[in-house]
């Protein structure tokens, strides 16, 4: 090991006194009056009898701070380890089909990966042994030296085959290092393996737009736009998701090609499309949403009070199933029962997106209460839901006649508070009201949730178009398009007003491309979606 700047170690002379001074300041006692020492007895982390001026033994945090300071100074000295020829560098370059995808700057992922690998070779002694592997074709190690690796790496080409990265990952040779260049980072990476990540393969092909329209008695029309962002033709099995999953057939998309898909499914809490990769890119994708008009299925546990059952029954459009969960049966959309967090807590769990449940509401009985809740004087009596800023709240009448909110909305849903001393909360008039509101909120939230996963940045974004967004109109079912995040989006920020009607009459895959192209050409192309007009 050598040090690039040994003089930096002199900083230790300054750093150590500074550390001691900081520690002394930190340890200085601050005198705080309290109402009663009983509230704190036995809770403080130091023995009480130590004299104030005594030097306390160094604790773990002080040791860690000192260690961090020493490492920092040591790092400034620029230590470097030069292999003397004993350590072997193993380089694994993923040459699967997805590595041919264009990354930013128009260069392929493989090209960027090779550039990163060459940088990693810089500074290594000339005698360093290098093992170069090039899966999925020719996966075996190419025993070479450093100079040969520098020559071979730039000549690598992507293949047309898929790659399971787990099959090529292995711990580095003893005393050596390993570098994995890939666009598909596995969940588990062995110790000592450095990964040069270049982006997930899912970005090669995915849904960029999605629309749902429910018509009473006629099922739900779904429409989506699937786009291939890669430089090669990809194939996808497309499945329509409704009460059941219906295969629509196989779609082949050329480089940069988009395909409009439409289908009509029976009413279901969750509708949308899935596409399953059948080629080397093997990138599955899905757009799913709840149209908000579907009949939700609620399962209630045996312990649910009668007041709640009545509230659920009155909520309408709810199919209520009682009893324990059945194995092998499609899970319900609403779970109403005791929370696992404690017997005093109830919850409604919305599972409309199958596997992505969130707690739509909870009921808490114990303090501390949030600031906006004041239960003082609130008695059992009439409770009503009152809109406030477009959001329903629950009000109870206090003994002084004033109406006070007893429920608040937070990031987890709605929470209702009761006076813990009120023993008849199960029959409290606000209880069913609250559940009715909670179901309504859950349904509303289900109707707004959905996502369209997008691929890489659109290279040919039409002028003036820039956003896929949620567009709603009063009295119409909400359209659910919500890009995962700007970083994952193919579309830049901004807005666009031109209109892109969904293709009419397109079904399956035969007429969809033509319909899409006609529709796009007819209005000057935009990516702002709106609910389809009847």
């Amino acid at each position: 090991m050598t040090l690039a700047s040994p003089a930096a170690l002199l900083l230790l002379l300054l750093a150590l006194p500074l550390l001691l001074l900081l520690e002394a300041l930190r340890r200085r006692l601050s005198v705080r009056p309290v109402a009663s020492a009983d509230l704190w007895r036995g809770l403080l982390r130091r023995p009480e009898g130590r004299s104030p001026g005594a030097l306390a033994p160094l604790d773990l945090s002080a040791g860690l701070r000192a260690g961090a300071l020493l490492l920092g100074v040591f790092g400034m000295a620029g230590p470097s380890v030069r292999s003397s020829g004993g350590g072997t560098l193993r380089i694994v370059v993923d040459r699967s089909a997805s590595m041919a995808a264009r990354a930013s700057g128009g260069r392929s992922r493989l090209s960027l990966g090779v550039e990163g690998a060459l940088r990693a070779l810089e500074g290594l002694p000339g005698a360093t042994p290098v093992l170069l592997e090039r899966p999925p074709i020719d996966p075996g190690p190419l025993v070479t030296d450093l100079a040969e690796a520098r020559r071979v790496l730039p000549a690598l080409e992507p293949t047309d085959a898929p790659l399971d990265p787990r099959s090529v990952l292995a711990p580095p040779p003893e005393g050596g290092e390993a570098l994995f260049v890939t666009d598909h980072v596995p969940e588990f990476v062995p110790l000592g393996v450095r990964v040069l990540a270049l982006g997930p393969p899912a970005e090669n092909c995915g849904f960029v737009a999605f629309e749902v329209e429910g018509t009473a008695g006629r099922g739900i029309a779904i429409w989506a736009l699937l786009r291939n962002f890669s430089e090669r033709t990809v194939e996808r099995e497309v499945v329509a998701v409704g009460p059941h999953e219906v295969p629509l057939g196989r779609v082949a998309l050329g480089p940069g090609e988009a395909r409009a898909l439409s289908a009509r499914v029976e009413a279901a809490p969750v509708v949308g499309f899935r596409c399953l990769g059948t080629d080397a890119l093997a990138a599955d994708d899905a757009v799913l949403s709840s149209p908000g008009t579907a009949r939700l299925r609620a399962r209630v546990g045996p312990e649910v009070p009668g007041a709640v059952l009545r509230a659920l029954a009155a909520a309408g459009d709810l199919e209520i199933v009682e009893g324990p969960p059945e194995v092998g049966v499609d899970p319900p959309d609403l779970e109403v029962g005791r929370s696992e967090e404690g017997s005093a807590r109830w919850r409604i769990v919305l599972d409309a997106l199958r596997g992505e449940p969130f707690e739509a509401t909870g009921i808490r009985f114990l303090p501390p209460l949030p600031e906006e809740i004041d239960l003082s004087g609130v008695r059992t009596g009439p409770v009503r839901g009152a809109p406030e800023g477009g959001r329903p709240i629950l009000l109870a009448r206090a003994a002084d006649g004033a109406q006070r909110p007893i429920a608040v909305e937070d990031e987890r849903g709605w929470t209702l508070y009761f006076d813990p001393s009120a023993g008849n909360w199960r029959e409290h008039p606000s209880f069913p009201v609250f559940f009715a509101v909670a179901v309504e909120r859950a349904r509303d939230r289900a109707g707004r949730f959905g996502f369209a996963r997008a691929g890489e940045r659109l290279p040919d974004l039409p002028s003036g178009a820039g956003r896929v967004g949620v567009f709603e109109r009063p009295g119409r079912p909400p359209l659910c398009v919500n890009l995962l995040s700007p970083e994952e989006s193919s579309l830049p920020g901004g807005t666009a007003e031109p209109d892109l009607p969904a293709p009419r009459g397109a079904r399956g895959s035969a007429l969809a491309p033509l319909a899409f192209l006609l529709a796009a050409a007819g209005v000057g192309v935009s990516l702002l979606l709106e609910a389809r007009r009847g």
Binding site: L29, V31, V34, A35, D38, R46, P52, G377, D400
Partner: protein, 288 residues
Amino acid sequence: MEEVFGEEFFRRLARVRLRLATGWERGAGPLAGAGASPRGVEFRDHRPYAPGDDLRSVDWHALGRLGRPFVKVFRDESRGSLGIVLDATASMAFGVPRKDLVARRVAGALGLAALAAGSPVSAAVAAERVGRRRFEGRASAGALLALLSAQAGGRAEVLVEAIEGLGSAPTSAFLVVSDFLDRDPVFRAVERVLRPGRPGLLVQVQSREELEPDLSGRVRLLDAETGETLEGTVDEEALRRSAARARGLEEEVRGFALRRRLGSVFVRSDRDFEDASLEALTRLEALR
């Protein structure tokens, strides 16, 4: 220190008085001697029998007719008096706002309300020593508030002495306003002054600093009342457990009150005294 009984206090006191106009001042309040004693009183109403009621007051005719036991409720023709014990020991001068501020105002509001309703008030303030005096008539309102304004100080023993003074005071209802931090001796004192047919209310005051402590790092904690010090480092666990102790104290007071058939009201020191007073009135009435 903020003025305890200033203009704002009296302006808002009007609401408490208004509340009383429908109750106490018409003889229906907790000071009206509404126990089930039949002697020297005027029949007023029936109420369902509760364990502990004097069997002599059971209306056997009503039992025969309705199949459920009811007791006759009488109204004492002479007005009862209200006993008030205010904890103004050093621990009450803690918090922002200080706990004793809302405690004094609640005690003052209820005391003035009782005086306005024609009921005498026996007040005892526990500070450096016990200040005790009996007040009667509206003209004594100023003297009552002066007593309740006594400077904070003293220890729990003084509070115990003040509560025990209730034992000999001829009151028909009583009120103890305290933080109950020294719960054991205080509970024992309250038990000693319990009398059948005399409703009592415990008003517990705690501050945000006790319920949601925000201390951190190395500290020397100084007990405001005893002067005892604790040294050490406050971490997340200590904060959580200290807050849990404070909340647990609230549960203990409530549980004690339930066991002894007393009423209890919990008041955070930043709570509006008017709301707290109205709740205390409501609970006191509910004890009848």
